[in-house]
């Protein structure tokens, strides 16, 4: 069992932010979390920061010291964690392990990414470097293409339809209407989703998460100290991570993610819970198919049942298994290195009854599922109400 709690969370609005530099985005999120925990920047003893590719997106390496200095935490150990789109969930895990080691009492875990400095083909090229460059990116596969390959395999094996994929986008856009920090706070219709232009067949524009800028941060302490900072801390009761082959071609199955299944099994064991005990989850819907596969890998629905489940409304807020109240990566936005901590912030809000119109009724346990790259990394966290 993990004995760490969240006592503060902050996030920038996700979207295009030409007005802000990377460090400015970070500081808005970090100081938001610090203020909420009722501490000062000087109280933070260590920082772990998720980021995929500041080097390619922003021409800047070695960002962790720069980030903490700019936000008033000069001098503390500051480490960048990279696991493609799961970067900040691995930063979170590093922060948890640092607290569990007993070395520190107050740790910041954050994530930041500014993707919109590059034009779209440049973003696509940078993200493709999170696949095996020699064997899969060089033939020309893109991230939408990787998940399109999984979609075709899932459709072939289970009869999953484009309408079921589109249902994920429609639901997540509807949830994001109630998230003031989401990139797209507008509903879309099934017809609109289905008629959008192709990105990587069979995935169209509305099957894809967007290009986003943003940052998210949380303040973590050991659970026994948590009530010193807030009346309603949120306990982290499981933190797991697993890996898989980089290459799709090296995998036995193209309709499931082994790293996600492995991390999920370990997480349930760590928390002494089962899939049915999870009231709601933030899952990594970088593409619509990814949410369907996630709900199967996490054991919420049987393999092949993820598509029918979303189509029947079983994953709407308050239904059988609430998925992606925040709007998910699809509509909340996906500044890749910030996504894992942003998911944790949503769990934090929900478990403190602070999620406003997207609040899940009677939510006690939430799960965050953050996938990196082709699924070569996955980190899972389970949180519980105090």
């Amino acid at each position: 069992m993990i004995n760490v709690s969240v006592v503060g969370a902050g996030q920038t609005k996700f979207g295009r932010h030409p007005e802000y530099d990377l460090r400015e985005l970070f500081s808005i999120a970090a100081l938001g979390a610090i203020d909420e925990a009722g501490i000062a920047p000087e109280d933070v003893e260590a920082a772990f920061i998720g980021n995929l590719s500041s080097d390619r997106f922003n021409d800047q390496c070695h960002i962790a010291p720069m980030m903490v200095d700019f936000a008033g935490m000069k001098g503390i150990p500051a480490t960048k964690c990279e696991a493609a789109c799961a970067s900040s969930a691995t930063a979170l895990r590093a922060a948890i392990l640092a607290l569990e080691s007993g070395l520190y009492d107050i740790v910041l875990a954050a994530g930041v990414e500014k993707m919109s400095d590059l034009p779209t083909p440049g973003v696509i090229e940078t993200l493709a470097k999170a696949a095996d460059n020699t064997f899969e990116a060089t033939p020309g596969i893109t991230f939408p293409g990787i998940f399109a390959v999984l979609a075709v395999a899932h459709m072939h094996k289970y009869g999953t339809t484009r309408e079921q994929l589109a249902a994920v986008a429609v639901k997540n856009h509807a949830n994001a209407v109630h998230n003031p920090l989401a990139q797209y706070q507008k509903e879309i219709t099934l017809e609109k989703a289905l008629s959008s232009r192709m990105v990587a067949w069979p995935l169209g524009l509305f099957d894809c998460s967007p290009i986003s800028d943003g940052a998210a941060a949380v303040i973590l302490v050991r659970t026994k100290d948590a009530r010193k900072y807030t009346d309603a801390p949120v306990k982290i009761i499981a933190s797991t991570q697993a890996s898989d082959t980089m290459n799709l071609c090296d995998r036995d199955s193209l309709s499931t993610l082994y790293a996600a299944k492995t991390a999920a099994q370990k997480a349930y064991k760590q928390a002494k819970l089962e899939p049915r005990d999870i009231d709601f989850a933030e899952v990594h819907d970088c593409f619509t198919i990814a949410e369907i596969i996630a709900t199967e890998d996490l054991g919420f629905f049987k393999p092949g049942q993820g598509g029918p489940a979303v189509e029947q409304g079983l994953t709407r807020i308050g239904a059988e298994k609430t998925i992606n109240t925040s709007g998910g990566l699809k509509a909340k936005g996906h500044p890749v290195g910030a996504t894992g901590i942003s998911q944790l912030r949503e769990l934090y809000l929900q478990l403190r009854n602070e999620a406003g119109k997207r609040q899940v009724p009677d939510a006690d346990v939430g799960l965050a599922h953050n996938v990196g790259g082709t699924g070569a990394s996955c980190a899972i966290h389970i949180c519980q109400r105090w």
């Binding site: 064997f135 893109t142 999984l150 071609c249 193209l254």
Partner: protein, 139 residues
Amino acid sequence: MMSSETTILNYQALLNERKLCAAECPSCKTLMLPPRLFCTKCHKRGTRWKVLSGRGKIRSFTVIHIAATTHAADAPFVVVVVRLKEGPSITARLIGVNPLKPEDIKVGASVVADFEEASGPTSDQPDMRLVFRPYLVHK
């Protein structure tokens, strides 16, 4: 080349000779593609090249419409994951099909390897890249 170490560099050199090769374990005969220096099953060293037939079946595929800067001129194009007859699986382009008719491309369809000049860095001898095309049975 066939007696060379099973490195990624030598794999490309063999492709340049229009040979698709996998690394074979000297002990348990596991075939590895992309090639490796150690057997994934029994961790033995001393892997050797084995030429593959190039015949295989489509496991899954996509049509890339929005490509990376480096590939934008080729879009739309088809990328396939192929299970080769000898067992290993590899990702490459599929040529000889209409990318705008993806419904005509089928999971399970037979394909065969071919080699194409890759428009790459400025060398006098451009690298060859692996591609697949539909395997047509001659009547």
